[in-house]
Symmetry: C2
Subunit: 367 residues, 2 copies
């Protein structure tokens, strides 16, 4: 037994991982999955221009710690200035920095029960107290979230729009109106990881100088670059500047910086990917219907399928799909955990899903 | 004026960057540098096999959060188990996690005055109290460091071997003996970023289960992959496991994981790069001598040149080199700041340095 003098907070934390990776499961089962439909990765992949930019990047050089070129392009894309934008190691990395800036022992934070667990991991990791409100009809609910934030004097409140794991969304105007009830001194962490997949108008029209909101975006979903780890946040320049207090200034991969820049500019390719995603969503919905199951309407690159019973049953369906060779995941909390969550795969991957689902349902029913 | 409710610690921190990047300087001067000799990047670059692995990585997938394949190869390379190894976003990222695990407000940490500033950045960032001891004859000094650690009851003590920015080193046996005086409950953070460039025997022979030391290694220097951001640490499994409490589990770039694995295995290429580095060190030493300047013997991929006067003079030499188009840096603290620090460039880059140095010295002298 050793005696490392960790901080009391660090000593109290579990050595957990928010998500077990598919590779870990593959090593445990001794074979590769037939398809990865569990992490909402975008199998259609990055723009060929992004791939070319990454393949030719000069990896002997450190990346620009200011991410200047990428931030300049993002500012033009969003109609703001580069002072409104910070780039980081995925939204996960940025959430960690944000929580570190705001949350100390016993500071209050609000999220929805069953929403993104990596945010919760960071809140726990900095000693914050997490308050959860239920989803309302499979939607994260701004009214409940902001009311709870007021009640507990929260410093941060998390809302994903569209939501993960359900795929539901609010239109931007609804969110903008709801902001009237965000308590003063509380910042809304608006996770828009999937917003490029959503209908026009899902992203609220916000003044980038609005100090009430920090928006999180990523190149992992619509842009197909999950492996590259490029996220960014848009917020008031004073808040953006605060990230420079704590971030890993040389944390960004140089090829990823170049790839994200090229991906952002390839509008035609992104449009084609979004069309593939829409087709796949419809296909998943049809496969579910063919098996007598309902789906939750989705504005993301995945679809939650209601297995029609409780979480125990859905878990049995999930396990049977995994046993057949599909990497899939499901929501963590009731009542959302009556569903399984299927990422938008290629037609071939969804053929496999169509083939495996009936047996999985049969196994679960007989289980 | 907004009113973000940062933690008291975060509010107290400056929005600084430990190092200003060369790209920032290039934007300010309005033109690119002729050569990058300031960040100890390895201009000879990654193994072609590493480049190929990175170019063909499936960037639509998240990287394996366990870094299993790379850790397995590293364990074989170092004769330990994968439980002794954590992979992270460069040594910078790992230093941040380590400091977070150990250091809270007013916890004591010890380093050398003028040693790696990013470590200091993290200590300040978590509210620690940094105690500094002077270099001894341009070497970080284990005896002074460990004595100070005992005096202030330090939780961590930092020592780079070889040292940056001076390039000096201790042989491994000296360090192993010095460890007898490391106070109980204090962990030595042994930064071995440059150790592959050093003479045989520079890395101490340590039992990987030794709880007194955590070693930090990187693919940024000898392996020429600074842009990829791959560092790793070797330590007691209990300490390694603690990183899972706080790290960004999905923080690693998937291509970088594959590239590092390929780079590690290409021993022949690494040997050829180390030969280039040795040649470049000799050339830098000769250029200095041709200008009447002494150099500090180096076990790294850079050479510190003693400009023969004080820090003000060396800064004038540095500024003159920068003005002529060379990206170079210098030590921060006296008396090391009588030097400028030149990274091992290509022969062409060092031709430029040979051409620019006489004028820089003349300019500095006429100041």
């Amino acid at each position: 037994m050793t005696d490392f003098r960790l901080t009391p907070l660090a000593a109290s934390l579990p050595s957990t991982v928010p998500f077990v990776g598919p590779e870990t499961q593959e090593r445990a089962r001794g074979s590769a999955f037939d398809a990865r439909l569990g992490a909402n990765e975008n199998v259609f992949g990055p723009s060929p221009k992004a791939l070319a930019a990454m393949a030719t990047a000069e990896q002997w050089m450190y990346g620009d710690p200011e991410n200047f070129d990428l931030r300049t392009a993002l500012a033009a894309h969003h109609g703001c200035t580069i002072e409104h934008i910070v780039v980081g190691e995925g939204i996960d990395g940025l959430l960690g920095y944000l929580v570190r800036l705001f949350v100390g022992p016993s500071d209050a934070v609000v999220t929805s029960d069953g929403a993104y667990p990596t945010f919760n991991y960071h809140v726990a990791g900095f000693g914050g107290t997490l308050h959860k409100v239920p989803y309302v009809e499979d939607h994260e609910d701004p009214a409940s979230l902001f009311a709870k934030a007021k009640e507990v004097d929260a410093k941060l409140v998390y809302l994903a729009n569209p939501d993960n794991p359900m795929g539901t969304w609010h239109d931007g105007a609804t969110l903008t109106r709801a902001l009237d009830d965000l308590p003063e001194g509380c910042v809304l962490v608006l996770d828009e990881a999937y917003v490029e997949c959503a209908p026009e108008g899902t992203a609220p029209q916000l003044d980038p100088d609005d100090p009430r909101v920090i928006r999180m975006r990523t190149f992992s979903k619509a842009y197909g670059m999950a492996g590259a780890r490029v996220g960014y946040a848009i917020a008031h320049p004073e808040l953006i500047m605060a990230f420079n207090k704590v971030r890993n200034h040389f944390g960004m991969n140089r090829a990823a910086q170049a790839g994200a820049l090229a991906a952002l500019e390839d509008l035609e390719y992104t449009a084609s990917v979004l069309a593939h995603i829409e087709t796949a969503r419809a296909r998943i919905t049809k496969i579910a219907a063919d098996n007598g199951l309902k789906t939750i309407p989705s504005a993301t690159n995945f679809v939650a399928i209601d297995c029609g019973q409780d979480g125990v049953f859905a878990k049995r369906v999930l396990d049977a799909l995994i046993a057949q060779g599909l990497f899939v995941r499901m929501p963590f909390s009731a009542p959302q955990n009556r569903c399984i969550r299927i990422s938008c795969g290629t037609p071939e991957h969804l053929d496999l899903f169509a083939r495996y689902l009936p047996l999985a349902l049969k196994t679960a029913t007989e289980g």
